[in-house]
Symmetry: C2
Subunit: 285 residues, 2 copies
Amino acid sequence: MAKKEQTRRQFIKIASISAAVSLAGARSSLGQVRGSAPRQAAKQRFKLGLASYTLRKFNLDDTLAMTKRVGLKYVCFKDFHLAMDSTPAQIRAVVAKVKEAGLVLYGGGVIYMRNREQMNQAFDYAKAAGMKVIVGVPIPELLPLIDEKVKEYDIKVAIHNHGPGDKVYPTPASVYERVKDLDKRIGLCNDIGHTTRIGSDPVVSIEKFADRLLDVHIKDVSEATAKGHGVEIGRGVIDIPKFLKMLVKIKYSGIVSFEYEKDADDPLAGLAESVGYTRGVLAAI
Amino acid sequence: MAKKEQTRRQFIKIASISAAVSLAGARSSLGQVRGSAPRQAAKQRFKLGLASYTLRKFNLDDTLAMTKRVGLKYVCFKDFHLAMDSTPAQIRAVVAKVKEAGLVLYGGGVIYMRNREQMNQAFDYAKAAGMKVIVGVPIPELLPLIDEKVKEYDIKVAIHNHGPGDKVYPTPASVYERVKDLDKRIGLCNDIGHTTRIGSDPVVSIEKFADRLLDVHIKDVSEATAKGHGVEIGRGVIDIPKFLKMLVKIKYSGIVSFEYEKDADDPLAGLAESVGYTRGVLAAI
């Protein structure tokens, strides 16, 4: 194949995957080098991102730098990186910084909504920041109001399951049961670590509740019990190749965000290993 | 946070938690946790290791800590970590430290042998350290003597190809041509980065010269030309899934060592990403 044609094809490919697979700035600006975008699974529609809880001990600048370093483009901010009570001006400043770094702030969370004020604040915050999704934990009493809010704001609410100890949303099934008759923009953020810790198979639940899968927290855990703790992806008990194959099969088209909870003071190596492992699986399946 | 400060913090962290961060080591010694050993390719006979050139700016203690942190067990020391003119007592002390860390010093290199003295030193050094393989670059005139030495010491010599600019051993083929009639313990360390940089496909050469493949330097490069430079595995032009499938197919049973040349002052994240990617591919193929 002529080099020009090869280059053209590559640009088409890059465009078609929406530049999802961002790399360090230098390389994405080169862009034309064969292989400059990591290989993806055939028919993969989803993109990789960061749940910024991973970098909860780090300030905004460090968080953006580390996100770029591991080659992630999409980021979901925990309030450490954009406080819930930020003024519109403060939100604009942070969003500008994210954009300047070449990243996309696609969501916020996990955001707890215990009353109407917190719910209103969450939607105004998300709207001001241009977020597409709130990864949230609303008390069930708010769900009828949330149903109205998502229609008004056109912002998705992905309810996060928190495993053993979570009395309201321990499993993906417990979330689904409460949202299945609401607006389709209300659904699940399947946290596959917590799903596994409660003895449930995330491969099963993402298929079963595929129509409401709006966000994913990808991670690995040391065992499939309440005692399971976060580890580097690939070192734990979750069958990541099987999980990623299922995400492709159900045509999931949202973001799969890394939430690496180990090594809070020094998470970069474990995050990088986790991102590498996931990309390696995606290149091979 | 300044990069230097970040690196310093990392060391403090590494030092303070020492062996504890070595999940692979700690957990495999506990043994009871399902999934404590990362998944491998079916029928995979080779193991993953570290070419310590990756950590050339770091002392022995940091090198061992970082090797453990990324979950690698096998290590091939460059002279930075065990000087070629070490006394037997010094060698014993370093070997004891490696063993205490739960690691295996399987080889040394890259070791240049430009004359008979350097060759003799290399074999005595390798023998004293209990190394199974010298990853070396002997001048061709020494090969008849090397042939005698490997018989006498029963230590393998894996000749390292160095790509464009290397007048003697630029490609795996150029190594093979010179060693094919010698003792079978003399063979190749296929450096897949340099192989790619000279426009040769490492998948082809590991199959073609499988009978003499004694060591592998795994890495990725930005382009398949002399201008190609090291990048995180998965971000470059080498088809790593295809390469690892071929290693399985030829039943390679040696070590595949990571030589991550980028970010010399702060290589841990890129090394971790590279190790993760490779493990992810191996889990999926």
